[in-house]
């Protein structure tokens, strides 16, 4: 029962956040300089009176603001995100078409960064006073300070242009038309560089966080208790310190998911990865604001879903929280 009400509570909260984002989007359009219809249409529609009129009609721009808001919201709630004049397709279709590639990329990057970040952080914590620990932390700091898109470009320069080991761009080999396993393998090869470069920054975040968390847990009294039992250091590290140190990492991972979707815009742009990040870049270039706001909404949706997931995991991991207390 507790879990049902917990999930209900989370969903309620998520719905509120999403509605708030819609309101936010709406006011963003109105806050922009110029006619909202022109903003929505961007450069694309500016020349096309028909399109502008359509937009004015749809948003009821002659109506009072609350009515406009209501029309906009009810449109979105019926999954009508508008039409991208530039791409000649409904926004929703465009996004749904590109979504799987982004999910694949961010999912892979997330797993890579979390797994290696925690391992590196744990190693750095256990070797806090040895050179190897300092080296890990130095590298983490380096990746933490490097612009994501620049790492991506350097990776292309080294692994594609110079060494020619991996493809520099795209989702699969153009014109190869692989099927089955060959297709999977092809996509995987294309995925390596984008996922690694996107994951690198977040790996640095998790490494630093894991180390800090473990060092602070290792100061706690129960670690002293474990040592007084005569447990081996490795067991103490794994069973007592790491397990407790991971709890805050779970929360952090949920928050970082949002950053990862944002980072995907840069990575996908560099690698011409056909996801919604690249779509966002295209929308930017073409000043297709309707599409931009639609993508923005979906990014937020992804983040919220992810936060809910980590929230549930946290609750499973920490026996102290049995109920939906915040």
């Amino acid at each position: 029962m507790a879990y049902v009400s917990l999930i209900l509570g989370r969903v309620g909260k998520a719905v509120i956040v999403l509605l708030a984002i819609l309101v936010f989007n709406f006011f963003l359009i109105h806050a922009a300089p110029g006619d909202p219809a022109a903003v929505m249409a961007g450069e694309a529609g500016a020349t096309d009176q028909q399109f502008l009129d359509d937009l004015r009609e749809r948003f009821g721009l002659d109506q009072p603001l609350p009515v406009q808001l209501w029309r906009y919201m009810s449109g979105v709630l019926q999954l009508d995100f508008g039409y991208s004049y530039r791409q000649q397709m409904p926004v929703l279709d465009l996004i749904l078409e590109r979504l799987p590639a982004t999910l694949l990329l961010t999912g892979a990057a997330f797993c890579i960064s979390l797994l290696f970040g925690i391992i590196a952080g744990a190693l750095a914590a256990m070797r806090a006073k040895r050179p190897s620990g300092s080296i890990i932390m130095g590298l983490a700091l380096l990746f933490y300070a490097t612009p994501l898109y620049w790492v991506a470009m350097m990776a292309v320069l080294v692994f594609s242009v110079t060494l020619d080991w991996l493809p520099a761009y795209g989702y699969s080999t153009v014109g190869a038309d692989y099927t089955g396993l060959a297709h999977v393998g092809d996509v995987a090869v294309h995925l390596i560089l984008p996922a690694l470069t996107l994951g690198l920054f977040f790996m640095a975040v998790y490494t630093r966080m894991t180390r800090t968390s473990m060092l602070s847990v290792s100061q706690q009294d129960f670690v002293k208790t474990a040592r007084a039992k005569g447990l081996a250091p490795g067991v103490i590290q794994r069973r007592h310190i790491l397990r407790n140190a991971l709890l805050p990492i779970i929360t952090l991972a949920g928050l970082q998911a949002g950053q990862m979707v944002g980072g995907a815009v840069l990575t996908e742009t560099v690698f011409a990865w056909p996801g919604i990040g690249r779509l966002m870049y295209e929308a930017l270039m073409q000043r297709d604001y309707n599409l931009l706001l639609g993508i923005f909404f979906f990014c937020a949706l992804l983040v919220i879903l992810f936060n809910m997931l980590t929230d549930v995991i946290y609750r499973l991991a920490d026996p102290r929280i049995k109920q939906g207390a915040t």
Binding site: L141, Y144, P147, M154, G262, M280, L284, V303
Partner: protein, 277 residues
């Protein structure tokens, strides 16, 4: 005295301070070293570093001096990093202070608001804000500030929550000090150390954000920035690697230096936080 000693004990922080000092110097000297606009085409395009004397970092696709761009870009990066951090602090500190001090419904409302901004993917939000407000230094600073204040508010709120129940605050209430005096004189000074550390890291993050926005073509069209230089070099990576490598290294060093300084400040301002417990 003690503060500088503790700061200097962290060798990384000293290195960071030196690098940061050099970047600041470069930014300050830019108008004197390269009085011309960095946008001016001065030589053949695609000159490699050192190929023609006087252009020790070469020229870009349009024949602009890379060194001039680098110097002017330093100014832009530091300025935007600093101002947007100040704006973010100006939003986050009061919100966090009010939420933490008054608690209850005020806290609930302000924290829901903060959570909302924290939930929205912040780079995506910055893109949307700058794109719709039209790229300019003002819109970039505002967008970065809007996406970076929530951690400040949370930090300040947390500090206020823990400090407001300290006995010296309760003593101040008992002798009849006003809420304003208690917030400003009793609590706020005791939250400064972690805020300063966070601020130094925020400048670094702001510089990264600005460069990412410029990379996507959302920079102020009137100012030269490192992110723009890399973005412009992206399509010619194969022919002219230095055009993307050089400004990238500049960003990396600046952000690294700020992080190192931040860690040093943390050591110096919060000595033995863990051990004190």
């Amino acid at each position: 005295m003690n503060f500088f000693k503790r700061f200097a004990q962290n060798r990384g922080a000293l290195v960071g301070l030196v690098i940061l000092g050099l970047v600041v110097l470069l930014a300050l000297l830019a108008p004197f070293l390269y009085p011309d606009s960095p946008w001016r085409m001065v030589q053949r395009p695609f000159l490699a570093p050192g190929e023609v004397s006087g252009f020790w970092l070469g020229t870009d696709v349009m024949g602009r001096d890379v060194a001039a761009g680098l110097a002017h870009g330093a100014w832009v990066s530091l300025l935007i990093g600093l101002i947007s951090t100040v704006v973010a602090l100006a939003i986050g500190v009061p919100l966090g202070a009010l939420a933490g001090y008054f608690g209850g419904k005020v806290d609930d409302a302000l924290m829901r608001f903060t959570e909302f901004f924290q939930t929205i993917p912040n780079f995506a939000l910055a893109i949307v804000l700058v794109a719709i407000m039209e790229p300019s230094t003002f819109s970039i600073v505002l967008a970065i500030a809007i996406v970076s204040w929530p951690p400040v508010a949370r930090l300040v709120r947390g500090e206020f929550l823990s400090i407001k129940h300290r006995e010296y605050v309760e003593a101040a209430r008992l002798v009849g000090q006003t809420h304003r005096d208690i917030i400003i004189k009793q609590i706020l000074p005791n939250t400064l150390s972690p805020v300063i550390v966070l601020a130094s890291l925020m400048v670094a993050t702001a510089i990264l954000l600005e460069s990412s926005l410029s990379f996507l073509g959302l920079g102020d069209p009137d100012t030269m920035s490192w992110g723009y230089m890399i973005g412009a070099a992206r399509t010619v990576m194969r022919q002219a690697w230095w055009l993307s490598v050089i400004p990238g290294v500049a960003i990396l060093l600046t952000v690294l230096a700020l992080n190192l300084v931040g860690e040093g400040l943390d050591d110096a301002l919060n000595p033995q936080l863990a051990r004190a417990r």
